[in-house]
Each structure stands twice: as C-alpha cells, then as structure tokens.
Amino acid sequence: MTVTPRALEAIPVAAQPAAPAERATVLDLAHISKRYAGVPALSDVSLAIRAGEVHAILGENGAGKSTLMNVASGAVRPDGGSIVFDGAPVALTPVAAARLGIAIVYQHPAVLPDMTVLENLRVALPDGVFAHGAPEAIAERLLAGVGLHAALHDRVERLTVAQRHLLEIAKAFAIEPRVLILDEPTAPLGQASVDLLFSRVRRAVAGGVAVVYITHRLAEVRELAHRVTVLRDGRVRGEALVTDITDDELLALIVGRTLDSAFPPRRVARPDDAVVFEVEGLTGAGCHEVSLTARTGEILGVSGIAGNGQSELLRALAGLAPFRGRVRLGGADKRSRNLLHDATFVPAERHTEGLMMSLTVRENAAVAALREFRRGGLLSRRRELARVGETLRSLDVRAPSLDAEVSSLSGGNQQKVVLARALLSAPLLVIADEPTQGVDVGARAEIYRILREVAGSGVPVIVSSSDAKELEGLCDQVVVMSRGTVIETLTGDDVSEARMITAAVRATARTAAGGEPGARDANARGGLRRFLDGDLRRFLDGDHAPSVLLLGVIAALGGYIFAHNPRYLSAFNVGTVLLAATALGFVALGQTICLLLGGIDLSVGPLAGFLVVVASFFVTDPQPAAVIAAGLVVMAGIAVAVGLVNGSLIRFAGFTPIAATLTMYIALQGLGFVLRDGPDGYIHAGVAAAIQSTLGPIPVAFLALVAAALVAELVLRHRRWGWRLRATGSDAEAARRVGVKIHRTVILGHVAGSLFTALGAVMVMGQIGVGDPRQGVGYTLSSITAVVLGGTSLRGGRGSFVDSLLGAVLITQLLNATVFLGLSTLWQYVFQGLLILVAAVAYSFAHPRLDRSVA
C-alpha cells in the first residue's frame, strides 16, 4: 500500500518547456476581489489561464493563492470582478465548474475516509467514466496513471496522506479536464510520485489542457511551468514567462517587505553560554531526523512553508506526540511523558486547544499550576489570587476582572492568558506555535517582550511561525524545515526573512519513503503486535467481521441453550423468536440508514407505536379490504411525512439529529394519545394472521426482512444512492465537494428510514393486535442497540444492513434466553451490556481515528 517508485516515462524530466506562442485564454479572471470580515484576501487580481501551458502561482503563506483558486473552481464567490470562460462570462459554482471541465486538486483532498478507494472514485466521478469496461479495471488504470498502488477495496482511511493526494489527483485527471488546478499537490509526495505527476501534467498540457499550479517552491516552477504569477498580500506583484525571470527577481517579488521595529533587542551571545536544550535525531509522525541545540537565553525559531513538519516537531517536543531520538533538557535525558510535564505548550489553535472558553481568566491561567496553590488537601484561594494576579499584571492582560469569562477578551489578551498559564506552571521549556496569530499589533509587541523575558530567565523558548519576518525579528537562531527535516540552520546575521524563504522555496529534498515522513516507522513492532495491527485488524476492519462475530455468538448461545433444553429449537420457539426479531429488524434497518448518515433517529419507537394506533382505525375486523388497504397507505404516508420533517429539521432548521428526532419522538407520543387515550381498536384477525404466517417454522415476514436487508445492502455497496449515503455520513464537506447533494441525501435517507420503521410497525400491529398509544417506544433503544451490535459506526459512514439484522436477531434471542436459562432480568442487562462492550472495543480497535493525546 505504499507508493513505490516507478519507471519514468520517456519524457525527459528536465525538458524545458518551449517558449509558448500566444495561446488561447480558456479561463480569464479579471479584477477579482474578495474580502473576509472586512480584511481583503484578494484585491484587483487578474489572471489569464491559457490552453496548453502550466501557469504557476507563487506566494507566501496567506498571499491569497488558495482563495484565488477557490474562486476559479466556483467554491468561493468573489465580491468583485468577472470570470470569462471560452469568451463568455460565467457565474461559477462547483457543479457549473465541473460541467465546464474545471477540475481542482485540493490541498486537503476531498476524499471519504470510510469508503473504499473504488467507491471514492465512483461516487466522485460521472458514470460516463466507468461506462466502457469493468469498473475495477478502469479504476486500476486511473490509479496506475498517477502511480498510486493501493488495493481498490481498502478503505481510504487506511491510506497515507500521500496516497490520498494521489487519489485526489487521479480523480481530477479522470474527467479529462480542460482546466486543471493543482493546489500544492506535491507537498506530501515522494520523488517518484512527483516525477510521475509532472509527466502526466506535461502530457495533459501537450494535449491542450490549461494547468494552474500553486506552489511555494521555485524549483518546481522552473521544472514545470511556462508562466508564473506572484501574489503577495492578495495582490498580483508580477507576472512573467518563467524563462524571462531569475530566481532572485522572483524572491524579491515574494518577500518585498522590510522589518518593522516591534521587536525587543536580541540577546548578546557570550562564548561561555551553556547548551541547555539539545535534540538529536528526533523522528516522529511528520518529522524526520531533526537535530537542534539551544543555548542559555536563546529563542529558537522554526521556519518553513506551512505543513512541512513544524507543528509535528513542536508537538513532539511538548510531549504531545511520540518520538524516537534523544532530547536533553537541563542536563537530563527526557522522554515524551517527562516533556509533557516539563515543557509548556502554547498551541496554534487557541480556541480549541489553548483555552477553556467558558471558564474565567483566573481559572484558565491557574489550571496548570494548581499544585503551587495547594495547602493541605485544598487550594489556597489567597495564594492563587496573589500569584495569578501578579502574573497577569506583569503580562499586562486587559480583562474586566479576574473572574471575567476568557471568551470576552480580545485575541491578544486571550493569548496573554495562555502565556500566563504557561509561565505560572514554571516550565523548563516553552514551546509556542504561531503565538501571534490573530493578535493585534500592540499585543504582538507585548508577546515578543514576554517571550524574550522568559528566554532571558534561562528557559529555552521555541517559536514556530509562518511569518518569516516575525522569526527574523524575534529569534537568535532559526531552523528551516522542509518535508519533515531540517534543511538549514541560521544563526547570527543569517537569521533573515530572505534567507529563510530562500532556503524553503529552493528546497528540493523530497521525502525518502514517499509517505508521511516517519509515520510508517512506528509500526515496526513485534510479532503479536504485527498480528494485532495487521491480520486481525484487517479482518475486523472489513465489512464482514461483524457478520461473522454475530453469527458466531448467535450460534454459540443457541447451541448452549439447546444443550440444556432441546425444546429451544422447537418450531414454536424458532417461529416466535424470528417473528419478534422481524419487527425489531425492520426498525433497525431504518435506524441503520440514519446512523450511516452520521445521525440517529430517536423517533423510530414512537413512530412504530403511532402507526399501529393509526392502523387501529382502519385495519379492524368489520372493515372491508379497501379500507384496510387505505390504512396501510395512510401508514406509509405518515412515515414519509415524518421522514421529511426529521430530515428538513436537520438540514434546514439547524437541528442536530438528536434534537430533531427527539422533538418528533415527543410529538408522535402526544399525537398517539390524541387519537386514543387507552388501548382500543383490535387489529383485523385475518390481517394479523397473514402478517404472522409461516413457511414451515420460519415466518414469511422474516424471509421478507432478510430479502430487504440483502437488497438494501446491495444498494449500499454497489449503487450510487448507497455511496452518496455513506459519503455524506463519512465526511459531509468532502462529499459536497465531490458533488453529493447533501440536503437531498439526508432527507431522503430519513424518509427511507421511516418507511422501514413503518414495515416494523406492521409487524408490531400483528404482535400486539391493538391500538395502544403507550406501545412502541422501546424500539428506539433496542433498534440502536441492534445497529451498534452490528458494527455500524455512530460517527457515520460505515455499517451494514445485514449486520443490523443479525444484531436484532441476537437481541431477541437474548430475551428468549433469559427464560430458557432461568436467568434473572439482571442477566439480560449484563449480557447486552457485555456484548455492546465487546462490540465497541472490537470495532473501535479496528477503526482507530487518529486522535492524539491532547494535554
């Protein structure tokens, strides 16, 4: 499953594109402007994209490159300017752009983690792509075209970042676009993949495709592009043919700023300064063989183009991610868990990781240092107030009071609270990731001062910033990272923005393995581990694992009871158990749809009960067949309406699935009591008998349930409708970008779910035989239990109808077993609880999301 090097095709890598004659403009962006919250992201940007050439867009982080491409692909609507395609003005949306043949490879691939590689291709690409030939063969060809060696039936979740990018690229090439936009496509790729990609791009260009290539790297521009446009601060700073401009001229266009003077004076280096912090050969997820040293009083900067391992390095040093290699701090070797304690981390994601927004300024500042305020077993409020107050004052935090909610502070003051907490915990090492992001100019200077003071007190400070100018002003030493490794260490006068950017954009180093640097190494463990990581996990990860497990449990439990009491397999028992399982099974099929969508339907139980109450007015003994049939139609109609309302509340009214369906739960219960205030209306005996008729000992309805589950399973795996359902549940945003209509999918999904519940209600009708508004509620919980036992993820995107059916059978079997084994009700709960626990552990082991420890 890795990207292996491939023989390059016969196109010479270094072939410099011939200077193009004036070519036809396919897509013309004129005077585009776009503002976000009043801040201009693009101002008066014009760009002509020509057929048969590669047009590179260069610029620093935040220069506006991605915004411009989102405009070009219809994902973002500009505030001003015009877009002309083939000479005609157009209003672009993602769908319209796709129709015109504009394909975009996003920097963050729009792939669906819970679906297989093949399914990702099929849901994203028009049917026409797969029209001629076996889909597998066509898909294999598409993947081979970009050098992606991944099994078609592996889940995309298991792919490396690089492989996901290649999949994204494969999708773009598959539709044979007229305009191909590539947004930093090579960032995670290895050399072989890059070469292959470039040869594909060259071939496409030779065929007349217009290519837009966004990058940070001058080397790539030289290698691939005909024309280059430089953006800085949302404006075009220059456009030229690549052959007409030197690297130095391009660098001047990219940087183009002078240093302002908000920075505190640097430390004066002395020869006897001790090395207080030392890293040797650190390798972890996203960074590789990193070495650095810092002396007393130094601020060490980490520079590079965003996403080249800076954040990963910082997290490893903060003890938040595992690493191999040696870290010495204050004369002692430190491991990850020591660093978690000794180092303090100021995260880039202030709101989600740095602060507890609903707590007060005092609580946020004090939480890491509570040990300091201990007196006896309790906290000394006085000591806490004194220390926290003093620190906040020294940092000049402007807050209405210590007990104000931290969310009421400005960004700069919030960041100072984060720093206050860092300082109160008396760390041995301070690590700050983008410490001035979203902070106003005045507060920036304060933060620089604080960091300098901390360094001056002998605590090493490590700062990462996407703003090279900031690092130039603040740091004594800067390491520049590219693709997870340190490519240059700058000290003294070399610490300059120009040197940093030059190093970063000139970097040609490519990662060796072609995957995420270092990520794979972590798996090299012993035999058992390999078994657990490999074979067992692959089995548990597959769609068939729950079926096998459930069938095993069902058979084992059945066999055990049968050994105790042969009546267990009597026709009467098998028939009644399967009949009860049929009612639950249909409801569980409906619930499965909602869980696949990443939601949940709490209203299924009351809906089943309500529909039986409705039936008790139509499907009763003296009624003629026509009325009974009308009753069944009314039941279906109500189910459709309930599904429409649930889905619409979720998609259009902003309800969470729980809130929407809980509202429906209560409403349906109330309506049931409006129709009948007690049990009444006996169900037609003939109809009840028909519902419960059997073929031998097996209820016909159960056979229908099995058939329904199999058909639903088929649709889920092999039809566009099923892919859309799972795509939506897997990642709604990515699904939207590949063209899935989310509103329609969710709403129709709920309608289908309610219709399955209506079939369950028909079974309940036969089972209880009377209209009783109190009945049915229990199906909500038991259907969820059945679906979860069947391995359907509560997070959405993966699951199976057949497994839900088996879950329903198992639950019904358990109820029956308590009587056959003479167990108390307690055991029923113990059994169910244990099964769910085992299922949850097994499936979550098989399905780890990459949640890292967050201290």
Binding site: S570, N573, A580, Y682, I698, V819
Partner: protein, 368 residues
C-alpha cells in the same frame, strides 16, 4: 399430552437454518370441567393430583408492591405439592420483553402460567398463543381484553369499581355536603383508574367536584412523580377536602407540604401501606382534618389467579370467585374493620393488609 416436540438438529449457524419439525398440536387436557376434580390429600381443594410446572409472569416487577405480590404468589403455590417447578420472569416494563417471556415459557413447555399483563390489551395475542399451544393461562388484575375459553383459560380481575364504591361511600359519610376531591392514579390511560372513577361516580353526585385533570392526575404509580404532581395541586388549590389515590404509600412524600403551608392534611381515601399508617399515626394529632380510609391494596389478587391456574392444570377444583374483591382494611373514623395500623419496626413499604406475614414481606422486599 402432546407438546411441541424438540427437534434434533445440529445447531446451525444461520438462523434461517434452524430447522424444525415440531408440531403445534394443542395439549389435549387443560383440566376442563367435564372430568371429575381430583384432590391432593392435605392440600387445598384447588390442588389436584396431576404434576405440573408453573410460571409467574410480571410485566413490571420492580417496586415493593410487586415484590410482595410475587412473594405472595410463590407462597400460594407452595400450598400445592403437585406444582413441581415454579419459575418467575419480569418484563421490566418492556412490552416486547413481556411478550417474549410468555412465548419463551410456552416454548419451554410449562403447564400453566399466571400473567400480570401490565401492557393490557397489547398482551392478548401472546397470551392467546400460549393458550392455543395448550398452556393453562390465567391473566390477572390488568384487563387484557379477550374472553375466557377462547383467548385464555380464565381472567382473574380485581374489582376496582368496587374500590371506587367503597371510597365513595366513606367520602359521603365524612363529607355529607359535597366538596373538592383530588383523584390520582397510575399511567395515562390505565383502566384501573377509570374503573375506580366509575365506582365513585355511582355513589357521589355533582356536589362532589373532581379538581384533577380528567379522568385522573397521572402519577405512573411512581412516588417521585406523585410528589411532583401532588405538590403542584396543593399549591394550585386552596381547598382540597379529600385526596383519593389507588396507591396510598406514594402520597406520604408530598403530604407534609400541607403542614408547611399552614394547612391541615385533608382526608385520604386510598389503599393501604405500612408507611401510610405510620404517617397517619404520627400526624393525625396535629392535623384535625386528617382522616384515613384504606382498601386492601390487593397483593392477594395473585393468590386467586394461582388457585385458578393450579386447579385447571392439576385437575383440582377451581375456586368459585373469578374476581378479587379488595376488602376495606382501615378506617380511622369508625375503627372498622380495622383501626389504622402501623408496624414501626418493619419497613414502610410492606402491606399489612396482605396475607403474607409481615416479616416475610420484609424479607421479600429486602432481597430484591
């Protein structure tokens, strides 16, 4: 006596493959009245000589009243040695579980079952299927619809109308000029409350005004909900002359609200419970209007159902009665048939009106 025959197949892995041969022919003898009753010497009349197994099924078995009732049923069964095996199952308030219990016992081959069908009519198809499979089936206390001999062997009801009449007569005696009545019953739509109201209405004219929601305030027979509902009603209504409830002990939690708001606790017409008796004893001196009248809370209803089931299954002589008549138990005004009783040494949630000895009740509720 043919029963569904066990099938000897290998335990197949696919439920579909549960293969089956059994037949569903009914048991021929369900102790129909045609044959001469038998009698096991030394046992009650209803205990015949045929050996049987019997199951007691509860729709909801959690609270102390149910625990005492279950223990009472077991106690009654012990009187007949012909019952060789006794089993119990608790539906836990889940209709599907209660239905499953009936079907599983039927499949397991018990000869007789007594069923507390909490879910009411919704239980009828399951009860009917047990009866049709040849099990002597006796639903009791909760109306499940259907008819004896077609859907089940015999229904042993309780006369809730009769309870209502007893309360009504007492209310007329202590409050001859009419007044405000507050009536609390169990879950919404339960037939017991409706029957009790019907009984009261046969005795009380329009000068007695029910100030609750029609037909009764819903408490689910849950002490916590009862306290919430009653507290609200006390705050809302400055004048409450009599509180009527079919679960007396559940009132105890909320009654002190009267005292705290400077009002006397009013008269109570309800069912008995040790906690209620003791509460009356502690508070009657300071609350001049606090009179208490109780009917037996009906734990012994199950005994009549067991008598019926055992008689029909063992070939004994069925009892004459098919309905349990809850006797009047306490009257603080007349002292007849009993003055208010309290056994402060025992737990509050036992029922002094039940036949089961107090100490045995205390064991039953503590062993839950």
């Amino acid at each position: 006596m043919k029963r569904p025959r066990p099938v000897t197949v290998i335990a197949a892995t696919v439920p579909l493959a549960f293969a089956l041969a059994g037949c569903s022919s009914k048991k021929s003898s369900t102790g129909s009245g045609s044959s001469e009753p038998t009698h096991l010497a030394g046992a009650p009349d209803w205990c015949g000589t045929r050996k049987i197994t019997l199951a007691q099924l509860d729709g909801f078995g959690g609270n102390s009243w149910r625990l005492v009732t279950t223990a009472s049923g077991a106690d009654e069964i012990k009187k007949c040695p012909s019952v060789t095996s006794y089993q119990y199952a608790n539906g836990n308030g889940d209709t599907q579980k209660a239905i499953s219990d009936i079907q599983a016992f039927t499949a397991k081959g018990v000869d007789a079952m007594v069923v507390f069908g909490d879910a009411g009519q919704a239980m009828l198809p399951a009860i009917r299927s047990a009866y049709k499979a040849g099990v002597v089936t006796v639903p009791y206390r909760v109306e499940v619809g259907g008819t004896a001999g077609t859907d089940y062997t015999q229904f042993v009801g309780a006369s809730f109308v009769n309870d209502g009449v007893s309360w009504g007569n007492w209310i007329k005696r202590i409050l001859p000029g009419g007044g405000n009545l507050l009536f609390l019953s169990g879950p919404k739509g339960n037939s017991q409350g409706n029957d009790e109201l019907k009984g009261m209405k046969t005795v009380l004219d329009d000068s007695y005004k029910f100030i609750n929601e029609a037909p009764y305030d819903v408490t689910n027979w849950d002490p916590a909900l009862t306290q919430t509902v009653l507290t609200a009603e006390i705050a809302k209504n400055p004048k409450i002359d009599v509180i009527v409830s079919d679960f007396g002990p559940s009132l105890v939690g909320a009654l002190p609200v009267f005292t705290r708001s400077g009002r006397s606790i009013p008269a109570l017409a309800t069912s008995d419970g040790n906690a209620l008796g003791c509460f009356w004893k502690d508070n009657q001196a300071t609350n001049p209007d606090f009179k208490l009248f109780t009917v037996a809370t009906g734990n012994d209803n199950v005994r009549l159902a067991v008598d019926w089931a055992v008689a029909r299954a063992t070939g004994g002589k069925p009892p004459d009665a098919t309905t349990f008549q809850a006797p009047v138990f306490e009257d603080s005004v007349s002292g007849k048939p009993n003055p208010v009783e309290c056994d402060a040494a025992l737990p509050g949630d036992i029922y002094l009106s039940a036949q089961l000895p107090r100490a045995t009740q205390a064991v039953a509720i503590n062993n839950k």
